[in-house]
C-alpha cells in the first residue's frame, strides 16, 4: 500500500520549491507512487453536473491531470486555517462602495439585437428542444 501523502521528495517548503517543480518534477513518477484521488466515474459524474459531454479520450486525460492538480492542492492541508475567516471577495475600498444601487427597471431596447445573435430565435423568444413531455 502506498501512502498517498508521502511525496517528501517533491514537497519542500518555500517558494523556490514551488518553482522547482516546474522544472524538476516528473509527474509520471509521482503518479506511480500515489493512489488516484479521482476516478473515471468521478470525472463522468462531475461532467454530468456541469452539462459537459466528454469523449472517452477526454475523460482519461482529465482524470490523470485532475489527479495531479488535486494532489498538488492537498498541500493546503499544511496550513492551519482554524481561526481564519474565508475571504470571499476583495473588501471595498471606501465605505459607500458596499451600497447597491436601487433596483429600478430600465428599458434596454436591445431585444431585436439580442435575438439576432441567438441560434434559434422565434419572435420575442428563444426556442429550445422540448422540456416537458406530454
Amino acid at each position: 500500500v502506498v501512502d498517498p501523502i508521502s511525496y517528501s521528495h517533491v514537497s519542500v517548503a518555500g517558494v523556490p520549491a514551488a518553482c522547482a517543480r516546474i522544472f524538476f518534477l516528473n509527474l509520471n513518477e509521482w503518479n506511480e507512487q500515489s493512489a488516484m484521488k479521482i476516478s473515471k466515474e468521478d470525472v463522468l459524474k462531475v461532467a454530468a453536473l456541469a452539462n459537459l459531454e466528454l469523449t472517452d479520450a477526454e475523460v482519461d486525460a482529465y482524470r490523470g491531470q485532475l489527479d495531479d492538480i488535486l494532489t498538488y492542492i492537498d498541500k493546503l492541508n499544511e496550513v492551519d486555517t482554524s481561526d481564519i475567516e474565508p475571504m470571499t471577495q476583495v473588501v471595498a475600498a471606501s465605505s459607500d462602495d458596499s451600497s447597491l444601487r436601487d433596483d429600478v427597471m430600465v428599458r434596454a431596447d436591445i431585444v431585436t439585437e439580442v435575438l439576432e445573435g441567438a441560434p434559434d430565435p422565434d419572435g420575442p423568444y428563444f426556442r429550445v428542444p422540448r422540456v416537458i413531455e406530454k
Binding site: 517543480r21 498538488y72 475571504m87 476583495v90
Partner: protein, 481 residues
C-alpha cells in the same frame, strides 16, 4: 518582426495637433501594418474599420473646427476579445461564442472611446482568458513579435503582442492570475494590473469574478498611466467598482522619488527560477537602489500555497460563470433530442480542452462533500495571502518580484502538463488573490533577446505610486539592463 517606429500617446497628440497626419491617415497606417503582419502573428481576431474610421473622422472634424481634443484623441487601441464591444465580434477566443456580437460596450471601452481612442479591433487570447501562453485560443496561438517561434504569454497575449508589434498604440487586457503582467513580461511592454475594483468590470465577460480585472498595455509607463486615468473609477453598473477619486496618473510621474522602501521577499529567487531571469531581476533591483530605493527584507510565508488556492477559487468561479453558455441565447448550438442533451453537446463541442478541464475541476471542488475541503479552504488561504501583503506593506512601500520564473518559451513546449503550466504563475497569482495592483515593466533581455519583466506591487489603490516607480525605472534604462 521588426517594430515600426512606435507611436506614443503624446506623439499622436502632437502629430494630430500640428496636422502632420490626420486621425484617418493614422488609422490607415495601422490597418496597413495589421494587413501585413497579422497573418503571421495572429494578434487580431476581428477588425472594426467602420467604427474606427467613424471615430477618426469625428476627431479630424474636431481638429478642423479647432475644438479642444480629449486626452486620447485619435489613439489607436486594441481590445482583448473577452471585453464586450457593441456589434464587433467578441468570441473570448472560444468556438462557443463564434459569431457573437455584444449588444453593448464594456464601460472601459465606452470611456476610452469617449476620450477619443480609436478601436482597431479585438485581440486574440486564451479561451475565456484561461491560459498562460495563448495556446488555448480556439483560433490558433498568437506568435510573440519579439521571437516568432515563442509564445507571447497569456492570456492577454494578443493585446501584449499588438503593442509590441506596433499594431496598436495601447491595448486593453484582462488579468485574473497574471494574464496582463505575464504577457507584458514575455513581449517586453509595460503592463498594469490595477487594484481589484479600480476599473469597472461591466462588459468584461466573466472568468472568475472575484479576481478579474481590466488593465492597459502600452509602449511606455506614461501611456499606461494615461489610459488608466480614463478607465478607472466608479461605475454604477459594477457594484464592486470603487468610488475612491481617480488621480491624474500621468501628471504624477515626474515628481521626484523619495523614501521608497522596496520589499524583496525572502526565498523568491531560489531554485526553479531561470538563471537569466534571476540575473535581470537582480540587476533591476540594483537599478531601483540607484534610484534611491532602500531594499528591505520581507516575508510572504503563504506564497507557496497561492497557486493551489488560486486554482481552486478561479476554477470554482469559472464553473459557475461559464454555466451560461448553453446554446440558447448566443453562439452556435449543437442539436440534441432533449434540452439537456443539447446543453451537453453544445458545451462539449463548443469549449476547448483547458476550459473543460477547469469547469470539471471547479465543479468538483464545489460539489457536495468537497466544498469545505477545497473551496472554503482555498478562501481561507486567500485571506492569509492577503494578510501577507498587508503585513509586508507595513515594512515596505513596494514589493518587487519577477513576473514569471522563465522568459517566453517556445510554442508547444509546455502544453503536455497543465499543472506545470499553472505553477509558473506563482509570482502573479499572489497579487491577484490579494487584490493589489502590480505592473510588469521591462527589465532587460536574455542573451537570446527575450524580454524579462520586473513586477512592482503596491498596496490596494496605490497604482499612482506603482506607475511612478515603474516610470522612474523605465526612464533610468530598465529595459536595457
Amino acid at each position: 518582426v521588426s517594430a515600426a517606429t512606435a507611436w506614443t500617446i503624446p506623439e499622436v497628440r502632437a502629430a494630430l495637433g500640428s496636422r502632420k497626419i490626420s486621425a484617418r491617415e493614422l488609422v490607415n497606417e495601422f490597418y496597413a501594418r495589421i494587413d501585413r503582419l497579422n497573418p503571421e502573428l495572429n494578434v487580431y481576431l476581428a477588425l472594426s474599420p467602420e467604427r474606427a474610421y467613424a471615430q477618426a473622422d469625428r476627431i479630424d472634424a474636431a481638429i478642423a473646427a479647432g475644438d479642444a481634443l480629449p486626452s486620447l484623441a485619435g489613439v489607436p487601441l486594441a481590445v482583448k476579445d473577452v471585453i464586450s464591444t457593441h456589434r464587433i465580434p467578441t468570441t473570448c477566443g472560444s468556438r462557443i461564442l463564434e459569431g457573437y456580437k455584444p449588444p453593448y460596450d464594456a464601460t472601459a471601452v465606452t470611456r476610452l472611446e469617449h476620450a477619443g481612442a480609436v478601436i482597431l479591433g479585438k485581440t486574440n487570447c486564451d479561451e475565456f482568458a484561461m491560459g498562460s501562453s495563448n495556446e488555448n485560443s480556439a483560433y490558433g496561438p498568437v506568435r510573440n513579435p519579439v521571437a516568432t517561434n515563442h509564445v507571447p504569454g497569456g492570456s492577454s497575449g494578443g493585446s501584449a503582442a499588438a503593442v509590441a508589434a506596433t499594431l496598436a498604440v495601447v491595448s486593453l487586457g484582462t488579468d485574473t492570475g497574471g494574464s496582463i503582467r505575464q504577457p507584458g513580461s514575455f513581449c517586453g511592454v509595460p503592463a498594469l494590473n490595477p487594484s481589484y475594483g479600480r476599473v469597472s468590470r461591466y462588459g468584461l465577460i466573466a472568468y472568475a469574478s472575484s479576481l478579474d480585472r481590466i488593465g492597459p498595455f502600452a509602449h511606455t509607463v506614461r501611456d499606461a498611466a494615461s489610459v488608466m486615468s480614463v478607465i478607472a473609477g466608479r461605475d454604477p453598473r459594477d457594484a464592486t467598482s470603487s468610488s475612491l477619486p481617480v488621480p491624474d496618473y500621468a501628471a504624477g510621474l515626474d515628481q521626484p522619488l523619495h523614501g521608497m522602501r522596496i520589499g524583496i521577499p525572502d526565498d523568491y529567487f531560489g531554485e526553479g527560477i531561470d538563471a537569466e531571469v534571476r540575473q535581470k531581476i537582480e540587476a533591476g533591483i540594483r537599478l531601483l537602489e540607484k534610484l534611491g530605493c532602500r531594499r528591505v527584507s520581507i516575508r510572504m510565508p503563504n506564497t507557496e500555497y497561492a497557486v493551489a488556492a488560486y486554482y481552486i477559487i478561479a476554477t470554482a468561479e469559472a464553473s459557475s460563470n461559464l454555466a451560461r453558455y448553453d446554446g440558447v441565447r448566443y453562439g452556435p448550438r449543437v442539436p440534441g433530442a432533449t434540452l439537456i442533451e443539447m446543453y451537453r453537446k453544445t458545451r462539449g463541442q463548443g469549449f476547448g480542452p483547458e476550459v473543460k478541464r477547469r469547469i470539471v475541476l471547479g465543479t468538483y471542488v464545489l460539489s457536495a462533500g468537497y466544498y469545505d475541503a477545497y473551496y472554503l479552504k482555498g478562501q481561507k488561504v486567500r485571506a492569509l495571502i492577503a494578510r501577507d501583503f498587508r503585513e509586508a506593506f507595513e515594512k515596505a512601500d513596494f514589493i518587487v518580484t519577477p513576473v514569471a520564473p522563465v522568459p517566453a518559451f517556445r510554442l508547444g513546449e509546455r502544453m503536455a502538463s497543465p499543472l506545470q503550466m499553472y505553477l509558473a504563475d506563482i509570482y502573479t497569482v499572489t497579487g491577484s488573490l490579494a487584490g493589489v495592483p502590480g505592473i510588469s515593466v521591462p527589465s532587460g533581455k536574455t542573451a537570446a533577446g527575450l524580454p524579462v519583466g520586473l513586477q512592482i506591487y503596491g498596496p490596494a489603490f496605490g497604482e499612482d505610486r506603482v506607475l511612478h516607480l515603474a516610470h522612474a525605472f523605465e526612464q533610468a534604462g530598465g529595459a536595457d539592463l
